[in-house]
């Protein structure tokens, strides 16, 4: 009786497990089809000479990777990507944390201001970039007009020309993405126990000390994730960068790694080299993430 019950239970469990696998299968196939297959196809493509339009392809081994190593355009684009990522992330964190601290204080109209601060993050990238391009236009733009009127500059600044286009790109990107930092940090700030601040006050800590020794350590876990995610997203950022010039002359001066990979695949028609550049970008991020985790993961609070 006992053994027959056990057999029945085992049979039910097996049947349930099969059903479970069956129900999971569509999601797993979808993931494999949409994530795993493109990644593996990209790696496979990077090992071939392949014209983007034409069907012919031939085995290249590591040739595409050697080509990248020797290509000054590639190394320049990696460097520009690093400049762009580090600058935008640093500014996003500083402005985002500052704004979150301000929005954590009570003041009349706080809810409205919180909503407005999120505005840049919710508008579509294409709209944001077009808007900024017109504002920064050196012949008709409002920003130059205002700066000249206020006497801040004698003549309009060429924000979209060689000298300032990277600065413009960084400012637009910071404007567009700092609300993400605000969201994450503000959520964490609202959960810090007020007792910690009261205790610090009793111990004679001023605002700066309270920020450095209470707020900042409490934010560490959130900032850890924010920096990681923003690094991945900014280093692989394509739309904002591309839309700034859409292949225009000054594109040369803001050509980051994702744009380089795109150009190789869709403008040089070298799908293999473009894929190799994407694989390198992926590997660079893996290395960064590994180092980042090794450096900060040991911190107890993370």
């Amino acid at each position: 009786m006992h053994s027959s019950h056990r057999r029945r239970t085992a049979s039910v469990q097996t049947s349930q497990a099969r059903l479970g696998i069956l129900l999971l299968l569509p999601a797993m196939l979808l993931l494999a089809g949409l994530t795993l297959y493109p990644v593996l196809y990209g790696v496979w493509l990077s090992l071939h000479h392949k014209h983007s339009f034409f069907p012919q392809q031939s085995w290249a081994g590591l040739e595409n990777y050697w080509f990248l190593l020797a290509d000054p355009e590639f190394s320049e684009s990696v460097w520009r990507g690093v400049v762009y990522s580090v600058s935008t992330i640093t500014l996003q964190i500083i402005i985002g944390v500052g704004a979150a601290l301000a929005l954590n204080q009570y003041f009349p109209g706080r809810s409205l201001v919180r909503g407005i601060v999120l505005f840049p993050y919710v508008i579509p990238t294409v709209v944001a970039v077009i808007l900024w391009k017109w504002l920064l236009n050196n012949q008709f733009g409002l920003i130059n007009y205002g700066m000249v009127m206020l006497g801040l500059t004698d003549e309009p600044i060429n924000w979209m020309g060689r000298t300032y286009i990277m600065t413009s790109l960084i400012l637009i990107s910071v404007w567009q993405f700092f609300p993400f930092v605000v969201l994450a940090v503000l959520a964490r700030l609202q959960t810090i126990p007020t007792e910690l601040y009261e205790a610090a006050r009793v111990d004679g800590a001023g605002p700066l000390s309270r920020f450095l020794y209470v707020t900042l350590p409490q934010l560490a876990s959130v900032l850890f994730i924010v920096v990681l995610l923003r690094t991945i997203w900014m280093f692989t950022k394509f739309d904002t960068v591309w839309l700034m010039t859409q292949g225009g002359g000054a594109e040369k001066y803001i050509r980051t790694l994702p744009v380089y990979a795109y150009l190789r695949a869709f403008h040089y028609y070298e799908a293999g080299t473009g894929a190799a550049a994407s694989v390198v970008m992926f590997l660079l991020l893996v290395v960064f993430a590994a180092v980042y985790f090794m450096m900060f993961r040991r911190e107890e609070q993370l």
């Binding site: 339009f53 924000w159 286009i165 010039t245 292949g247 225009g248």
Partner: protein
């Protein structure tokens, strides 16, 4: 156990329902032939004209559905690539003449001879017949042609007593004379010239300038000629022009240069087109919407050249092999080119779209288009360039280049020529140095693509 059985029954019912719905929908779709049409005329008037032609066609052919999509130039080629890679190309698409030839040489296009026959081969302008043609077959059929134009402010030129520039030196002199400080603050607020900084337009311009300077971009063995004296002259000319160009011109797109022109910030536009007339009629004050204020000159000749050169914007329709309904697509094109339909399309940007059919161009209906009457001078300059064989597609110096240099598409996309110009003009490098770098890059690209014969 009972619950598992219920779930099984539910899953079975849902699957049957999906299969049934799919079969019914599939049967409905099978009755209609869908023709996908990708074109690059994103002007709202052109989009509307295409939509109206499609509507009339579908009424006349209830078994065919046309899915027309207007795409920006930058989006078109990646989309064609993706479609070809997926094995699901559209039936019809616009493309650059050099793209059309490259696809044809790879056997990816179907001939459009039936369409040409329906239009009447003798009814098509000879200049048009040179685009994307191989082995006597038409693999591309131009939707409409329009040449680049040197647009200038006729009222300002008259005030300054300037005449049409015959040489590059004349053009530089005119541009300097038209760079003006109108508000007396000691700085120019009107620049003599405006040029787009886009990759495409820099390539177009270099192609034009080298032809106007009696040179070529590549020799018969496909070796780039970027370090040739004539190219160095082109780069030096461009460098001299910058004294009359607005600062930051390299960041200006094609439409920005039009904005400079009708926004009265520039006096000449080197890379203008007939669509400028439509923009002028849209954006400048009514009393200035005429050729007394905005007119065109034939482009000047370089120091080593003997005749002007312009680019002709003449993207062909391409019929892609592997698409599902090529025969239905041909029917659509035959309908599109019928005078009564084609004129609607031409009317959408009439000074930029030269009809490819003689019957339409010589018809009273075409000549009576109000804009054609108002901007006749602009059309005459284009006609002169087309008739005089001065107009060639992007990067093409001789029409044979289309068939003998299939790598032009890659050269254009690579930005090598754009970088050479920017390094000289914006970064201040010596023309010889920038040209040598571009030469090495272009040689590497052509070798890699397998076309080097030197």
């Amino acid at each position: 156990m009972q619950r598992i059985e219920s779930v099984r029954q539910l899953a079975l019912s849902v699957t049957c329902a999906i299969l049934f719905a799919g079969t019914v929908a599939g049967a409905a779709v099978a009755q209609t032939k869908v023709v996908r049409v990708w074109h690059t005329e994103t002007d709202p008037a052109s989009v509307k004209a295409v939509a109206e032609i499609v509507e009339r066609f579908e009424k006349a052919h209830p078994d065919i559905k046309i899915e027309a999509e207007a795409l920006a130039w930058g989006d078109l080629e990646p989309k064609i690539q993706a479609a070809l890679a997926a094995g699901a190309p559209p039936e019809l698409s616009h493309g650059q003449p050099i793209t059309c030839t490259a696809l044809q040489q790879q056997g990816l296009l179907l001939p459009l001879d039936d369409v040409v026959k329906a239009i009447g081969e003798s009814n098509v302008w000879d200049q048009i017949k040179q685009v994307c043609r191989a082995d006597g077959k038409y693999y591309g059929l131009v939707h409409a042609a329009g040449t680049s134009l040197l647009i200038y402010r006729a009222d300002w030129a008259k005030q300054k007593g300037l005449k049409a520039p015959k040489t590059w030196s004349d053009l530089i002199a005119n541009a300097k004379a038209l760079t003006m400080d109108t508000n007396g603050d000691g700085k120019p607020d009107v620049y003599g010239l405006t040029i787009p900084g886009d990759n495409l337009f820099i390539n177009i311009l270099v192609g034009e300038l080298i032809a106007a300077n009696g040179g070529q971009l590549f020799d018969d063995k496909n070796k780039p000629l970027f370090i040739d004296k004539r190219m160095i002259e082109v780069l030096n000319f461009w460098k001299e022009l910058t004294t009359a160009l607005p600062p930051g011109w390299e960041g200006h797109g094609y439409l920005d240069t039009f904005a400079s022109m009708y926004g009265q910030k520039a006096a000449m536009m080197f890379q203008g087109y007939g669509r400028g007339a439509s923009l002028i009629e849209k954006y400048v004050p009514k009393e200035m919407q005429d050729t007394d204020h905005f007119d065109v000159w034939m482009k000047p000749v370089g120091p080593s050249g003997n005749k002007p050169a312009v680019q002709v914007d003449e993207e062909p329709w391409m019929l892609l092999k592997g698409s599902k309904n090529p025969e239905a697509a041909k029917e659509f094109l035959k309908f599109f080119y019928k005078d009564e339909n084609y004129i609607e399309y031409i009317k959408s940007v009439p000074i930029h779209f030269f009809p490819i059919t003689k019957s339409l161009r010589q018809s009273a209906a075409y000549k009576e288009i109000p804009m054609v009457k108002r901007w006749g001078g602009w059309l005459e300059v284009q006609q002169e360039a087309l008739d005089g064989d001065l107009a060639k597609p992007t990067l093409v110096v001789k029409y044979e280049d289309l068939n003998t240099k299939p790598y032009l598409m890659q050269v254009l996309g690579s930005g090598i020529i754009r970088d050479m110009v920017l390094e000289t003009v914006v970064e201040g490098k010596k023309p010889e140095e920038a040209a040598a770098k571009a030469q090495a890059r272009a040689e590497a690209l052509i070798k890699k693509a397998g076309y080097a014969k030197w």
